[in-house]
Symmetry: C2
Subunit: 345 residues, 2 copies
């Protein structure tokens, strides 16, 4: 028995022949387009079912639509991102769109490569989560394809934007810690070298919000920011540095829960206890913050809602590319758990 060639895929032509109609009719039926009689629709639908026909996206893509939405995530390890994805996907449930994720793993697949790859694949729409591209690049992309940006603090006429009020969130933490009596409150930020980006990226806005809140509480001389990345390793190494200070902070505010996890490890290894020896707060209120023995004080930024908002905006933009752009800012909420307490006496 010789190897059987993989059976050719069923095309619109097969369906048309099987139903004794034109390919146009079939095309109209699968697109729910205007101008098909009920009888025609029924015949075609029957043929489609019988033959198990599914349109090839590449062919449709040649004519404009791929029914695919691309999502760019900077990092799959940060447990906050799945919340966004979840809200996004759920909002799209019931539509014809399929969400595909591209991820620029910590740099060894640069963001622009992923974004370009998504464009080259003819996405009908794109969502970029905390992109580090320049404004010009973002606008350029947005002129090519309907786009929503999550996390960047910039208004653009070309794309919609959904952000959390990161400055407020940071202030919530600083005020909470200051109210508890802390003065030496350190912050761990995700490094941002580009000065232009710094005013727009969520990580930088949190850091700046921290500084401002510290000043507002009269703690200007206590401002202490360590730059690393929003990863466990980043939090770990940053905490090591902080714990080695001659006078170590009584509280650490990590800009992301994922970094706070690394901080916890470093604190534990140093033989210290949270919150007796040192207080710790995170950001994002990921599910891991709620885990029993951790009980991390954090800031909730409703990732699912952010994702859902982004999806709704993207659908609108796909429907009308020229509609005025929206800028949605959601309010964060402080979630106090057991990692924050008054400083040791």
């Amino acid at each position: 028995m010789e190897p059987v060639a993989p059976p050719r895929r069923v095309t619109i032509i097969d369906v048309a022949a099987h139903a004794n109609v034109s390919t146009t009719a079939v095309s109209k039926v699968i697109r729910n387009a205007y101008g098909v009689s009920p009888a025609m629709r029924e015949r075609v639908t029957a043929a489609i079912t019988e033959l198990g026909y599914r349109p090839r996206t590449a062919a449709r893509g040649m004519r404009g639509q791929t029914y695919t939405i691309g999502m760019m995530l900077p990092d799959l390890r940060n447990p906050f991102f799945p919340d966004i994805v979840d809200g996004f996907v759920q909002q799209l449930d019931g539509t014809d769109y399929q969400v595909l994720l591209g991820t620029s793993f910590c740099g060894h697949e640069p963001e622009s490569r992923v974004t370009d790859a998504l464009i080259d694949r003819g996405m009908d729409g794109m969502v970029l989560v905390a992109p580090t591209a320049t404004r010009a690049q973002l606008n350029h992309t947005a002129e090519t394809v309907p786009m929503v940006v999550i996390g960047r603090h910039t208004r653009s006429a070309h794309h919609d934007t959904v952000v959390d009020d990161d400055a407020l969130g940071a202030a919530l933490i600083v005020d909470h810690l200051a109210d508890l009596g802390h003065r030496r409150i350190a912050h761990i930020e995700h490094r941002e070298n580009d000065a232009t980006l710094a005013v727009e990226m969520p990580n930088s806005v949190r850091a700046e919000g921290y500084r401002r809140a510290m000043r507002a509480r009269g703690l200007t001389d206590q401002i202490d920011v360590v730059s690393t990345s929003y990863t466990e390793e980043g939090g770990y190494s940053a905490a090591q540095r902080l714990l080695n200070r001659s006078t170590r902070p009584t509280a650490i505010f990590a800009g992301a829960d994922i970094a706070a996890m690394g901080v916890l490890t470093a604190i534990t290894e140093a033989g210290l206890t949270v919150p007796d020896d040192i207080s710790l707060a995170g950001y994002d209120n990921t599910r891991f913050a709620a885990v029993g023995p951790i009980g991390l004080t954090s800031v909730d930024q409703a990732g699912r809602q952010i994702g859902a908002d982004a999806a709704a905006l993207l659908l609108q933009r796909i429907a009308d590319r020229d509609r005025a752009s929206a800028f949605v800012s959601t309010s964060p909420r402080l979630v106090v758990r057991r990692t924050t307490a008054p400083p040791p006496a």
Copy 2:
């Protein structure tokens, strides 16, 4: 100023015209195909750069290749999966392939929908992580597109398979706990209703490995399995049930770290302490297991290696679809931390 139409994308024809050559020549250059003089290559490359040309995947897809590999993940929240993705993507680094992720979020976007969507989008290859499709479905898919399956304990002539020896991993935990003196060791499994699938799914194999190991240690009458899902919520509710038993277990073996996190929360809420009151072990050795205050005893199954192996196999299969299929089984490793200790006296 009227709204400017989005500039038409640069095509191969533009490049050909700009370089004064045929489109064939351009095509050959971008594919590194045989039969291009150095001079020709240089001219074309220059034109491509100058015009910023990038081929449209849809058009290439019409002729066979999309340079895209689809990855189906069952759940983005399980922190073990990013490890696999990471290894996979890194192995593909330097090739022309782009990895795109489809995810079937906890069922509200069923697995088959995602798989079909990836096929319809003309993926050059696919990786399915812990798919729940029937063998027949998997084989059918594999006849359509080069495919690697991660996690299923079945040999197939049509696709390659990469698995962890889950039975051994489960035994490592049971033996470890039994050696510590535990007898009432409960297991939390990810439910599998289909009896046929049960012998193939990693979750079921872990549960069966647990049972076998218990019997081998003479603990047959202590076998206690709670079925939920490998999620935090699943672990949480399962633990609640276990802690309400008239005689509660002295140790819990959660089939996944993510479930163990929920168990920790339940234990904490019950006012119990780990490992003094009760021991806990997980599986996957995710990064969260290592976090300081947790220190979860777990089983390492080298997700990055699994991902890398899968990628290597997939590349081979794309190059030669008829090559004999491989079945790679990796050995798990016990990682003892601080959540396991002898049972209370």
